[in-house]
Symmetry: C2
Subunit: 123 residues, 2 copies
């Protein structure tokens, strides 16, 4: 009689903390309709530790800086960014400078890495 209309939801655990992982595994193991993924199995959803969502507080970047940052993350050069945003290369440098400042980065690569880490941008 098992109506196979909806197979079990397969969940995988991606938790560092062994204690938390263990509690979750135990708790979820007893839930009908749910199943923990077997090693190597592709899960339909994953439980990760902590909220990956952006941390509290915002680095307070202006809209223009966000525009420039996004293009930087795409690997665009200052010249390309200038063309894309219809502004001069000098202005791009100006914004990049502010970005390096606010993100406490030493260069554009570092800036993108920091921004990604802080959830300011999505790679």
């Amino acid at each position: 009689m098992s109506e196979d209309t909806t197979p079990d939801i397969v969940l995988s655990l991606e938790i560092e903390d062994p204690a938390l992982a263990d509690r979750l595994a135990t708790l979820l193991g007893g839930v009908a309709g749910l199943r923990l993924a077997a090693p190597g199995e592709t899960a339909s959803a994953t439980i990760v530790a902590r909220d990956p969502r952006v941390m509290p507080e915002d680095i307070d970047l202006t809209q223009r800086e966000l525009d420039v940052l996004a293009l930087m993350a795409e690997g665009a050069s200052n010249k390309m960014i200038a063309r894309r945003l219809n502004i001069s290369v000098h202005t791009v440098k100006f914004h990049v400078g502010s970005l390096l400042d606010k993100l406490d980065a030493t260069g554009r690569t570092d800036a993108v890495a920091h921004a990604a880490r802080r959830g300011v941008i999505e790679l």
Copy 2:
């Protein structure tokens, strides 16, 4: 008499698919020891759709290239990388060149972004 030795595990849902999210919410709602996060509440774990883990899309980088890549992601310049790895700046450039090639990137910033996206490195 509720022994509060272990508070409920707070879970937040990060699911695109409304149907799947709904099923999970229903299933999880009836589990003792578990609780779904209230809007804005910081969860101890999050359920995300799909497995965020990287595909077996190996980029086949040499060990040295991985070394260089890791330092690049830290925002290190070629000179810094050279010092850190005890090799010449020219050799660093050599590896960076290979990296740009293999990662199909236009520059070091792009290379780091691509590598992070493909899970080759962790930011």
